[in-house]
Subunit: 463 residues, 2 copies
């Protein structure tokens, strides 16, 4: 059976790393009052295509035995925003607004699989949605929560010294600036400027001239896109370009609030970066992207922004702000660079079995250890102890427990046969007497530890 | 937008209950050394249909933009056993055997939706798989682990006094007995006897006569199926029927080992029950089903058994034993009976905001609380305190924190304006001074508590 391209699966050790990341994300989100929502994997095809994102190829789902004319077609969701918008409208009467939710789920896209692009992958989204009005401080909150979550992820699985940059911009700044310049189609300009990551400045100017802008307008657009400041000084630099428009004023105030309020963490810095436009998405204000040092080839690992109309029903609109972390892509890059788990199983202890007739005694020792929260497995067979120790070694299990042998041995007096329980640390070889009712490994030995990668693999850095 | 029949989604409070159940299952499985595996949602259609289970209607998955002749068809998995078998073969060189894994994932079946039958639902599976030989004590282990997991689930979300019965049988007992009776087609007999839950004994006998059995044979088959003992005394009762066959002896020894070795828990009892045959599944030895008192209408909530050939490659066979808990079906029944969460958000504390200009102070209080692991949210707007308290009440948040107001109030001297931080328990109304750097709620208030249902809904008990 051959592997399916674009549908990655993890080995048990890789899955331990992934679970540690997902656990950390969940804990951070919940600490900030975000509740979990899980939506079904499928949506009606028309709901998915309504956003016009035909560039995201969807997977249609049909019953094998279903009639050809079977009701509405279903398809697998390609992101978590569209299903969440549908969930909000469907449950509006049962939700308390403003509503904070996190959603960690698989999504599916029929894209051509390539390095770091999957057909099935996990996203971790947070959004805050309100009824009718969502105040600007929620944009700050979304950025702050994801910065803290990402800081912890880098601490857990990132390379030493790795740092993420949360790049913040605001559609109103860009649109207001272009309108103030007298540009006819601000959206078209935004989609050109969005290519500044891939194209040199002069090429951007040339493309803008093709859009009908004059040289001065095109150069102003480029100058705006080149402004990036770690604080609110971007406001002055934009003002210095001499363009005025009420929408620009509104956008600068909103962006200054976000950049001035989000606290940087040890591993996540915040940058006002006016090249960020999220060209093809339907954001209306704040927009976010995130780059990780040493992993620039991944592009933005975490993106989002504000929708003034995330969803709507007959009575209300539901403005929202959110950000989405591409867990699978980030993890795939870090796994390729060597992040792994200290063992391949949850077990901290293997209980040895000296004889199949005494398996019940080994089970009782394991039961005593588990009752105090120590993950434990029992040896599969009463093989030679050396073989049982190698069984533990191959899995990275640090301790082997040898139950007391209370049976008289052939040719020995009963007293000689009685031994105490002992436990062997198979890393040091040290073996000591131990009572299964009280013995405990070090707290950090209870769960597999994450072994971080040494250095990003620079070979992958080519675009 | 209408809800999709058969694709249930949870409210935030229901999702808190579901997560508590899934967390408990994961913790129990890991305590026993089972590692997590997650497989992709899709399998090649021919892999899914190979088992001949055409009664489980599958969902085919195709790219909307894909060519009609696109390579192999894919379909969503309908269980976690078939994908796991494929995963074992694909990763055999990287796995250490015997390999214990748990897998908690959605599965999809194109069945007609009805009460408790979903098209998308969550299963929690544990399996142990070995290379070439899997000793019988692993059947005991699988039963023990699931009994402990289920005990905890009932303690967490079950009704008072609810008890599950883990019914164990063995295909070798049934097949050996039928062969000893001189029956030509033991599998056909097994599929008839499997209906004993739904049909009376005389009807089973009539159906067996139609299969070509004589009256004495048919009555013996029925007598065997009616044997159920909480201990190993079933062996004598089977022997008393006077049938002999080597396969029967083997099966009786295996079943006696399982029933004699699995420790019952407070809420899960073990029963040797020879009516259990798992008629349509491909088990070769031990088989399991599980009934929950008060929820008999659900049928078996947890089923499984041993496959002597779970998977195979050119070099080896991989025998396995496993059991699968139908999480969604069980949870749907308990949610219908009123199990819920004490609050709809993770937040234990709402920090009030007296004025938008002091939001930063409220954020600082929230940061101090979160840094000590206390889930906290900040009020969405500086509304009247009564309104902010109602905001907390509607979500079930137990505490509202009022930051010190250090600004002079209009018309007061500066000294009068200075207050201390206070926290209000909005259940008792008690309000006390509190330091955000040290104040802590009771440990069981940190997370939403599960509120258990009072009594099973007997209206649902009709078949």
């Amino acid at each position: 059976m051959s592997r399916l391209s674009g549908f990655p699966e993890h080995t048990p050790a890789e899955r331990i790393v992934e679970l540690a990341v997902l656990d950390h994300l969940r804990a951070t989100f919940e600490l900030h009052g975000f509740g979990s929502v899980e939506t079904r994997a499928v949506e009606p095809l028309d709901v998915l295509l309504r956003k016009g994102e035909i560039d995201k190829e969807v997977y249609v789902v049909k019953r094998l035995q279903g009639a050809d004319d079977e009701a509405a077609s279903l398809a697998l969701h390609f992101d978590l925003t569209v299903p969440f918008a549908r969930y909000v409208v469907e449950n509006a009467s049962r939700l308390e607004f403003p509503f904070r939710r996190y959603q960690i789920q698989k999504v599916w896209r029929g894209e051509r699989p390539q390095q770091g692009r999957f057909r099935e992958f996990t996203q971790a989204d947070i959004d805050i949605v309100a009824r009718d009005v969502l105040r600007p401080h929620f944009d700050v909150e979304i950025a702050q929560v994801m910065a803290e979550a990402l800081d912890g992820v880098i601490a857990l699985v990132g390379t030493d010294g790795a740092q993420a940059t949360l790049q913040v911009s605001n559609r109103k700044v860009l649109e207001g600036f272009y309108l103030g310049l007298g540009v006819a189609d601000p959206t078209a300009v935004m989609q050109v400027v969005d290519k500044l990551d891939k194209l040199p400045g002069e090429k951007i100017v040339a493309l803008l001239l093709e859009q009908g802008l004059d040289q001065a307008q095109a150069e102003s657009c480029l100058a705006l896109a080149e402004i990036a400041t770690p604080d609110t000084s971007f406001v002055e630099r934009v003002r210095a370009l001499g363009v005025e428009h009420p929408l620009l004023d509104e956008g600068l105030a909103e962006l200054a609030q976000v950049v001035g309020s989000v606290r940087a963490t040890e591993r996540v810095v915040v940058l006002a970066d006016l090249r960020i436009a999220r060209g093809l998405d339907y954001y209306t204000g704040t927009v976010f992207e995130t780059r990780l040092s040493g992993y620039e080839q991944l592009g933005s690992i975490c993106s989002g922004g504000r929708y003034d109309q995330l969803a709507a029903d007959n009575r209300s609109t539901y403005p929202g702000v959110g950000i989405s972390l591409g867990v699978s892509r980030l993890l795939a890059a870090l796994l390729a660079d060597g992040v792994t788990a200290s063992r391949t199983v949850p077990s901290a202890v293997l209980v040895a079995v000296s004889d199949e007739d005494t398996r019940a005694e080994a089970d009782a020792v394991a039961h005593a250890l588990r009752s105090r929260g120590i993950p434990t497995e029992v040896a599969p067979a009463a093989a030679k102890f050396g073989k049982q120790i190698r069984h533990a070694e191959r899995r990275g299990i640090p301790y082997v427990f040898f139950p007391a042998d209370s049976r008289p041995r052939p040719g020995s007096t009963p007293a000689e046969g009685v031994t105490s329980h002992t436990v062997k640390d198979i890393r040091s070889g040290e073996q000591v007497e131990a009572d299964p009712a009280t013995w405990t490994p070090a707290p950090d030995e209870l769960r597999p530890q994450i072994v971080r990668p040494i250095t990003p693999n620079q070979q992958e850095s080519t675009p």
